[in-house]
Symmetry: C2
Subunit: 347 residues, 2 copies
């Protein structure tokens, strides 16, 4: 049997543990896996594009575990009241190839994206950072605010979105968070005095959410929204002025802010900072940019965390996903075997 964590059970888990605990624990798994980066089999995601959007498979593995995530990106879905992005994933045993756990990953991806942002910021932002600007109050915004509060000690969030309803939704969700929230009238106003800036807008186009003149010395930019071909958020000048950090260079050149830069533009992979091979922030005046597009190892970490957390508890069910005859060669025998003949009709 394969363990299964559905939306309902994951929500129960997060509510019972508290989202801050979940983010803190998840961040440890993500950090641990970045630290042992060379142990992973890495490749760009496998995307299937249509006029409506993309469906992607994101596999990775180490010596013991294999994971993949199924995730779509359909910008027009919100028109029909559907999610732009939904996801699920699976963790398997490399030794046998058998699946271990299947999980919803729409919520889990939102958590791991925010946790990854916060892990990166711990190495790249100034240690005295207290004010976070968030540009874009979409589905990821509250996860970002909560992760930065939990993992970095952010106490103030300045939020901006072109849609006042989205901003209101953000404020409603954050009202008991303990964060001081300010609604800004523009991106410019949001970033004034911010130590860290998260850009997480949804438009699928080359946009300029942040221009160079808005970025002061010492700021850390967490660029999350530019995450697919044809979608960027930062003016290219910012990337030249600051130092750029990425997850997996090959993928970020295709999908991240790096799309705007020449192919030999110098970047540093985040894992090298976490592993201690290279230095992150060098001075209080550095501008650091985490050009984040999301990578398969982060999903691996999230599934590994989830499995350790829920195995054997009431937070997972079991699925009969695997045909397992007593004699492995006698698959056909299952059709004659003693499966109970329930009352059933076929219509």
């Amino acid at each position: 049997m394969v363990q299964y964590v559905g939306v309902h059970d994951l929500i129960r888990l997060i509510r019972l543990q508290g989202i801050e605990t979940v983010l803190r624990e998840l961040a440890e798994y993500i950090e641990d896996d970045f630290r042992r980066w060379p142990a992973f089999d890495k490749r760009p995601r496998l995307a299937s594009h249509s006029e409506h959007g993309a469906i992607e498979l994101m596999p990775t593995s180490d010596d013991a575990l294999y994971s993949f995530k199924y995730v779509n990106g359909h910008p027009g879905n919100t028109r029909d009241g559907l999610q732009t992005v939904i996801a699920f994933g699976m963790l398997s045993d490399v030794r046998t190839g058998y699946p271990l756990i299947l999980s919803e990953m729409t919520l889990l991806t939102a958590l791991r994206t925010a946790a990854t942002s916060a892990v990166a910021a711990r190495y790249l932002a100034r240690a005295d950072s207290r004010v976070l600007a968030i540009i874009g109050a979409g589905a990821q915004s509250e996860f970002q605010a909560t992760a930065f509060k939990t993992l970095l000690g952010i106490d103030t969030v300045r939020i901006y979105d072109t849609d006042p309803d989205a901003t209101q939704k953000f404020c409603d969700n954050m009202k008991n968070s303990g964060l001081s929230i300010t609604i800004a009238a523009s991106s410019q106003e949001a970033v004034e005095g911010a130590d860290i800036i998260t850009t997480i807008t949804a438009d699928k186009q080359m946009a300029t959410i942040l221009s160079d003149n808005m970025i002061g010395a010492g700021v850390h930019i967490n660029a999350v929204g530019g995450d697919c071909p044809g979608k960027t958020e930062l003016q290219a000048d910012i990337l030249t002025r600051g130092r750029v950090f990425v997850e997996y260079t090959e993928q970020t050149r295709l999908e991240g802010e790096l799309q705007q830069m020449p192919e030999d533009f110098q970047v540093t992979e985040l894992w090298e900072i976490i592993a201690g091979n290279k230095k992150g922030r060098r001075s209080a005046r550095d501008i650091t940019i985490f050009d984040s597009v999301g990578f398969a190892t982060e999903d691996f970490s999230a599934l590994r965390y989830l499995r350790d957390k829920v195995s054997g508890t009431s937070f997972c069910k079991t699925l009969d996903l695997l045909a397992n005859p007593e004699d492995p060669r006698n698959l056909f025998g299952l059709l004659n075997s003693s499966v109970p003949d329930e009352e059933c009709s076929f219509e």
Copy 2:
């Protein structure tokens, strides 16, 4: 919600419908999809190799539907009483990226492999074929015998396996099939007088299950067992003497009997025969070889069939795999929402 067909429900479906009906209906879907081959987005499978085996993702899509299959291949698994190959898969809506149905695919793959073999043989074997030789009495053998009986009117099967227990298992499973079964003492004896030969052995090596002198004029060879790098079953001379048909050339050159042949060795893709673009068998004396490795479109067909067959019936359950907040941007709101607070404890 996503529809889910587990092992238990699939077995119930097959038992209630009868495996012959299922194979016949499935074969129609497979044939229809081969006929519209150019409509599919095709690519080689994405494999992750380890010392223990391989884990593969096999995606494909047309304008309306996307499918992928997860499948492993771990030759050492039988030692531990596990299946060498287990699989599951999913069909999704290209327009929204949302999953439609998740299914076990260990049994479903066995069915689609046999149905594909029979579909190919209908175009490539002599119409008066009545005797089938099967070399290898493993997990796929009974499915092959049943598909050839149902779809081609085979009435006699000559079976050979190096392991008498496997042969016995085959005979036990086939005892009420209506087929006349003969146990052969060697491959040579099995193929004597056979119209069609299925090779479906399990050894992961370059083997010679069939040598050139065993193959008479007019025979159709259904080579199913040579299906991964380093594994073949036929002596290369046979491929030169006969005409070779494949599913997807690029993949078969890596995984099929074609591994033994030069890169420019002439083959014909099966879909061209089914679509009527090219001729299959040209005379009663032709030797035809279907060098089958299994392709993603066959899984697509199987999932499409299953969905049409079980949607809305008791043969599928539903899974809460997709987080679906009322306001798509308010994913975070799910964590504060009215999910019932059941009695639960976290240990």
